[in-house]
Symmetry: C2
Subunit: 472 residues, 2 copies
Amino acid sequence: MSLNPADDRFAETLRPELPEGTLRRPEPRHLEEPRGRWKGASQWLALPRTTDQVATIVRACHAASVPIVPYGGGTGLVGGQLAPDGPAPLLLSLERLAGVHEIYPEENALIAGAGTILADIQAAAEEADRLFPLSLASEGSARIGGLLATNAGGVNTLRYGNARDLTLGLEAVMADGSIWNGLSRLRKDNTGYDLRHLLIGSEGTLGIITAASLKLSPRPAATGTALLTVPSPEAALKLLSLARSQLAEGISAFELMHRTGFDFLSEKLPDIRQPWDTPPEWSVLIELGLARGLDPTEALETLFAEGFEAGHVSDGLIAQSAQQALDFWTLREHIPEANRRIGAISSHDISVPLGTIPEFIATAGPALEKIGAFRVNCFGHVGDGNLHYNVFPAAGQSRDDHAGNREAIKSCVHDIVHSLGGSVSAEHGVGRLKVGDLETYADPTKIAAMRAVKSALDPMGILNPGAVLRAR
Amino acid sequence: MSLNPADDRFAETLRPELPEGTLRRPEPRHLEEPRGRWKGASQWLALPRTTDQVATIVRACHAASVPIVPYGGGTGLVGGQLAPDGPAPLLLSLERLAGVHEIYPEENALIAGAGTILADIQAAAEEADRLFPLSLASEGSARIGGLLATNAGGVNTLRYGNARDLTLGLEAVMADGSIWNGLSRLRKDNTGYDLRHLLIGSEGTLGIITAASLKLSPRPAATGTALLTVPSPEAALKLLSLARSQLAEGISAFELMHRTGFDFLSEKLPDIRQPWDTPPEWSVLIELGLARGLDPTEALETLFAEGFEAGHVSDGLIAQSAQQALDFWTLREHIPEANRRIGAISSHDISVPLGTIPEFIATAGPALEKIGAFRVNCFGHVGDGNLHYNVFPAAGQSRDDHAGNREAIKSCVHDIVHSLGGSVSAEHGVGRLKVGDLETYADPTKIAAMRAVKSALDPMGILNPGAVLRAR
């Protein structure tokens, strides 16, 4: 399919159909992404204020075969939010479709525009004495449309599921500019194919999400936080299993961290206070949210005592105040920033079946050593089987020294993940970074079905071309 | 698309490719459905034992343009499991692909063939000290492939979600006979479009599910059951809200029942003992499943006391033994059978936004009275906003007296549901019964997307033609 650039001529054609100020030149931030791998090629940015304006824009692009890249908070880590090559796409930012439009506390539901920042949704839910449990490091700038388009994960997936599991309904503009009014608050609706789940995680390649109906949860009556030292990843899993047998769904988060992350924090963010002189080799951050009648501190003490007895945990701290709990989380949430400042050669967002995590860690390290000497920061949502396994140059070396090793490192890690039945993109998505990985590792029948669905719903190929599936 | 019947000539062509005994004449049960509305027209039944055999069959049908109707436990209520007209389809029963193949208690995952009966999956989970929470009246005969193809709901949806929410991965045969190996145990996997959620709820029209990877839950440490009298549906919702504020996720089921259901039980199933002389106008059945350290009986007593004080509940019973809890559930689970014996003129499986349930009930009754004198049995999963609103002839009349009113009754109920933003098929699916309703009420953009996806994944239209979407 041959596409045309969103150039000045196209902009002049579209301009009269939209309110003044809707079409602009992109700011530099719109053409960059957090890991600095690519620069976007877009010359024009659209900032619609309404779903109808989004539809007008998409209709015009459809008629002129002009590609569109939808833009949320710009926090994506796989390059889904910009197109570095091909005919320059129109960048379509949803940032003005922001705001929590309705909240139904009795129904545990909330309706928000695609441009609403995650932290604002969390705050609106809290104000209504409810919880919107999606939570991740970029929650202060990530927008819900992008979070849904990429099916974001984060730290509470263990208990509450991924972004898709928190979605009751969507409003979206399809490739031909038609609007799907699917802002349902229903918990049960079996009237046909689930278009909602098809759009969620499709990274803007099948439709543009303009609003969402989201599922809220009761706020746990009390929360508790502990930072515990574990002898090994295997012990961490045994501790998780013990915690589940004691607390069932009461575990909101269960994060694994390797010492390397704390070393990076000391080196690059020394103002963040660490609760030890020498960080432990492996530690877990546990967050509980319990029902009325249960005491989280008591529950964590019981878990520690039984875990210690069984050899699953050797030391640790139970937060004695909300501030201390926040401090523990500050450590965890700043590891990605410390990583960024160190500069990874290759970052991997992988998941494997829970039981195979120790095998993955035990295999990947020695396999990488055959390529060279690296520092590995392995951390993440171990309760979901999801690890961020990021490979850095040895101390004293730079990432540029290893540019030639990047592909070998990535293949080494991803091959092991694939052999264990895992995923090479657990929560960040495919974007432009992992299109080749998808072709290498995905089931051929699945890929064929994806291509067929893409052609069916976006026959011109104007929606985020080159993301998820190679542009044709 | 012109299709050819699965006739003797086709059977003779296919027979040599399959083990002896795979192709048979259907038994009468295969050509009937529970509500007796239709008779299936199939002349041939395939009983494959392996996924490869399913693929062989589908490939042959694809090559010869022969339609296939997939068959699970035969319990569907909307006619998705048989084709009464058109070229006689091959009936493809998955019953021999039965069995729990693997269970991973530490990962809370289980893998089962599509033909496995739900009760057998529940039992396997229980044996591993886990819970597979999908539960509905037909669990002793419904098979997991069909339950997933129709995204079954049931009594525990409030807490654990629909069938789709309990599914980690699928194996399926697509329309061209290719096999999708998607039996993942991963909790996070963002590598492309979610084919799993597209197939779930597509009622066999996009692919044939052959196996599933299912999500297990911890077993609650203790359960409690209460049968409470409430003054009105509105009071029931206020009681639910109070229960949620006290118990958060601890509420596993919250069912509403109208007196009519108990009257029907007395009339048609008098051996089922009822715990009162005169049944209450409205009652709720509440099931709690609580974590270690909490006492369900105490929790139900607190709920009753606070609910009574606030006027949300007027009387009731808290089960004092497992047997009594079972007795309460026996009442609830036999209402559909009592309904069947009375004989509904029109049955409706509807959902509305939770807050609009009282309005729905208050509006529908008087609207129906304008059509004629009926008895209405309104019961179901009120916590999900899902009611079974079934309309019966007045005492002394038969359903045949009202055959001419059926369409008017259905439209009356469905129009009210639609005006409240509800669904005309909450949990039973579309099948053949509600194809027209879907065309009437569904968003046109959604219907267009569904048709495009259907054409893309099943270009010959051989998979369950006439279910969900009108055959073309």
